[in-house]
Chain length 394, copies 2
Amino acid sequence: MNVENLLADRTKEMDASAIREILKVVSRPGMVSLAGGIPAPESFPMEIISDLTDRVITKYGSSAFQYDPTEGFGPLREALAAYLREQDIPVSAEGVLVTSGSQGALDALGKVLISKGDPIAVEAPTYLGALQAFDPYEPDYIRMDTDEDGLIPASLEETLQQHRVKFIYLVPTFQNPTGRTLPLERREHIAEIITRHDALLVEDDPYGALRYRGSTVPAIKTLAPDNVVYISTLSKVFAPGLRIGFCVAPEEIARWLVIVKQGVDLHTSTFNQALAAEYLTGNYLEDHLPRIIALYRPKQAAMLSALDRYFPADFRWSRPEGGMFLWAVGPRGMDMEKFYLKSIENNVAFVPGKFFFTDPDEGHETMRLNYTMADEQTIDRAIRILAKVIENNR
Amino acid sequence: MNVENLLADRTKEMDASAIREILKVVSRPGMVSLAGGIPAPESFPMEIISDLTDRVITKYGSSAFQYDPTEGFGPLREALAAYLREQDIPVSAEGVLVTSGSQGALDALGKVLISKGDPIAVEAPTYLGALQAFDPYEPDYIRMDTDEDGLIPASLEETLQQHRVKFIYLVPTFQNPTGRTLPLERREHIAEIITRHDALLVEDDPYGALRYRGSTVPAIKTLAPDNVVYISTLSKVFAPGLRIGFCVAPEEIARWLVIVKQGVDLHTSTFNQALAAEYLTGNYLEDHLPRIIALYRPKQAAMLSALDRYFPADFRWSRPEGGMFLWAVGPRGMDMEKFYLKSIENNVAFVPGKFFFTDPDEGHETMRLNYTMADEQTIDRAIRILAKVIENNR
């Protein structure tokens, strides 16, 4: 049948996502992938997973397999509220919404808040998955300037003066794709700006717990609680395949998030929420998190020292204190997609940075490097190959 | 902060769903609920669930907890394709998309196909959850006439002559809310009509496997394969809390469903998909389904005989050969919501049928009765009370 004229207007404008094509290459045999954003499988607490499933089945029986309220499984909301309070985000169980990954929270926010053409302010570069969640609601993205410390507050101020944005979207800690973290003074400045403009900030924090050194910076949610929707996930500290995200939103927004989530998936898997509740309340997370960090810290160190050793002198890269990504920037005018094509011929994959910019003219000289999946030796070898590819083809 | 002016246009028009308020009442202590659409927890295969989790953990290890392709977990797609082929729906694993409940398929279809104001044809009455999935995309619903055998083909023909509908949405077997099933001749007629008009039909089939007597009717998908998106779920034959739905769509639509699903939740829980794969490939479903049927058949019989015994002579009700619902219709002019309020005072809840109609003037004299949750004695008592409430308040 003729499908073309059945598609919604929004669909006709959607991209078949070039990055999907890139990530397909990654699964080729022999490919070393620095491209993904995927936790190492060794970071999952497999040694306790059978115990957790047994405990859930014994404790909750059939109710762990039954329909459940859209807002989330009661014991998990309790556990997440306690977890958030430890991070100085004061919230009760009723204030926590469980979502199907943090992606589910981003989709619901897009649906509740974005009408076609609404301005949404994002960092340049920003998280691609957020754009994929928002795109179907057809916003206009307003790009804001960043530097090594993340969003530049003056750029936010200017954006809010010039546009009535529906919200600002930020990943303030160990950002995807750059690994950058907003320092405390900038967070305070940003909190002051959004409060003064009565603007809404969506603070996406999937990586905050993965800190390898340095000291914790408070969430912007703690500095401007009424103006921030805080989103996080258990994907990086438990297991991504369980799809457990959560968010804390101003009440008038949370109410609508629940209504739209009901239309999207009724609720997130009860069984997986019960597993997550046991993981948190059994204090497994606090035992396990140091092991995840001990797994990733040397991988990051290996990548940083390989970059120091092999990469061209005219490249710069981030040195984040945690997270899953480094961001490397070549000289202006460089086209990283050209090196990407050569690089996969040599069985090393990364993501050209331009995909993380809303302006198609930006970021051609940038690349995102992930270090969580490969071992230290392989990381060293891959960066050496990548450096050679760049040298030989520039 | 002032949230009102941040809401999207679609949100301002969304209902805070009166039925949500009704279903809240259901959980009051002492309430007998004929209101829900919830499988009995005794219908879940709890005796094998520990075995299934162990097998998944042993067989797939950490990959059952890792990110997975948006399209679905490979072994589950294989198993679902085999399951669908048994129902004469010819499909390969690549043709099956796994969704987060069938709700996830409905949301994705709405997103891919509906622009504001697009006509969507639905039965009067229709499944409320589908309306909740489609509503945020702001369609115009075109209501089609039904009788005891479901959709009247002449009404479909007239609708397609008068409107360029994006799609027709039907629950052809043991419909929610009426329990009605389209007979084979109507299915053939409907298949002929949609093929001739090159129209798209969304066939939602959550209850087809729950047949208590009579013989199976083929899915419309088998009669007009190119013009039908077939949606089903394991919620009624395994466990709803796992949120496993699936669909088979024409390829040009499936491609877009994957792209929008990626933005909504990346993918459905890998672990739960692996559990479902083991459930299907281990032949547990074929062992277990007769037990679910043996559990529900007497409940339905109890409700039907209680209706015969107690209900007013001027009421009619459906006598479906399967599913989870009966549909009772009082005399014209009756307001079932009035009885609803009296009925919950007597600790019996049902859903007034008007919520299942897109035209607010329709269905005031109707009610949906669910029989899967209560035992036979309680069902008998509840119907007796309900009959008394109607007698005493008319």
